[in-house]
Symmetry: C2
Subunit: 210 residues, 2 copies
């Protein structure tokens, strides 16, 4: 293990993805062990998956959907991560992602605590995160003025900022979540922590000399 300072690990997430939830827990466990911080970067899979790739949400495909749902709960169990709520068709993360984007401009640490709280609300408590009022409730509990959050979610400049973040993610090659960016290496999937860790250990993809 190296503790040499390194660049932050980019963590691309969408609050409506259960796999991004798993990834958020796993990367925050892993990064500090290698002296890395995590830079949470918003993506909208409604844009990357549906509009750019013209796919459906993976969890809605025959065969693949049921497998991924089973696998999601299996991975959560294996990693000791609490997960009550799997895929829900009716959850839209747009308001929450705008709130995250706005919070990050002022206080990145607070934005992460907010995102973690929203993941927990949806995946552990099984409660919706779609409505602006609900987003404002949760931000308020973290000490943010309710009226400010509501105004931010409706603010065109915040909407534009999120759109720029999504465009930047797409330009970086991100299509799904979670995606990790480690020293320029793009790694997709909550099941790829072994690969993120391999990079953090070796900083190379050369086969281990054995």
């Amino acid at each position: 293990m190296t503790n040499a300072a390194g660049q932050p690990i980019g963590f691309y997430f969408d609050l409506q993805s259960p796999f991004a939830y798993l990834g958020s827990v796993l990367i925050e466990r892993l990064a500090p062990r290698y002296g890395r911080t995590v830079d949470w970067r918003p993506v909208l899979i409604g844009v990357t998956v549906l509009r750019v790739m013209k796919m459906q949400p993976l969890l809605t495909y025959p065969l693949k959907g049921p497998y991924l749902d089973m696998d999601l709960h299996r991975l959560a169990r294996l990693h000791g991560i609490s997960l009550k709520q799997g895929h829900r068709d009716d959850v839209v993360s747009l308001n929450a992602m705008r709130a995250f984007c706005w919070l990050k401009q002022g206080d990145p640490g607070l934005a992460v605590r907010f995102a973690q709280r929203m993941f927990e609300r949806l995946r552990v408590e099984g409660l919706d995160i779609t409505a602006a009022e609900v987003v404002a409730d949760e931000a308020e509990r973290l000490g943010v003025e309710r009226a400010s959050v509501l105004a931010a979610m409706a603010d065109q400049s915040v909407k534009d900022a999120l759109r720029r973040d999504v465009d930047a993610a797409i330009a970086a090659g991100v299509f799904g979540v979670p995606t990790f960016l480690v020293d320029g290496e793009l790694i997709w999937g909550s099941d790829r922590m072994w690969m993120v860790e391999h990079w953090l250990q070796h900083r190379s993809w050369a086969p281990p000399a054995t």
Copy 2:
């Protein structure tokens, strides 16, 4: 590590998938370390991906396609697996898969050597595996009578047998390749060897007691 005898590991593959090629090498490395054999089971991703799921081949999607191609070569390098040829649109494995199916009926070990040779021909040598004549050439080099292979690939009962195998795979929940079936646990992806190994070690998804 346990060396207790266990059921064979089901390995679902399609000779036209580069990820199945990686999986074929990795599972044959891993299984013997846990006293397991590998049961190679044919699938046609043209049926599961295109017809059942109504998806396109994953390597042809914008964003995801280029990522998967990059990742394929990265995984091969990491595992020390020779890979010259990535995705090719023009390769159709149907004849080769029929030949595999027929060979397996008579001699499963020979069928595996044939499949490994076809993977190598396509991925290491960069040569096509589509034409029946080419399939017969390769089988002949393994000591199989050329005329018999050609007849088998055109035989309705062999076509039906492959179709039954594909239907059985779909009934088992298989949608992509490689997929591994370990003691009833279905695990998809050449990047999931860590999970196959976890199961072989612990035979449980309970979180490790630490």
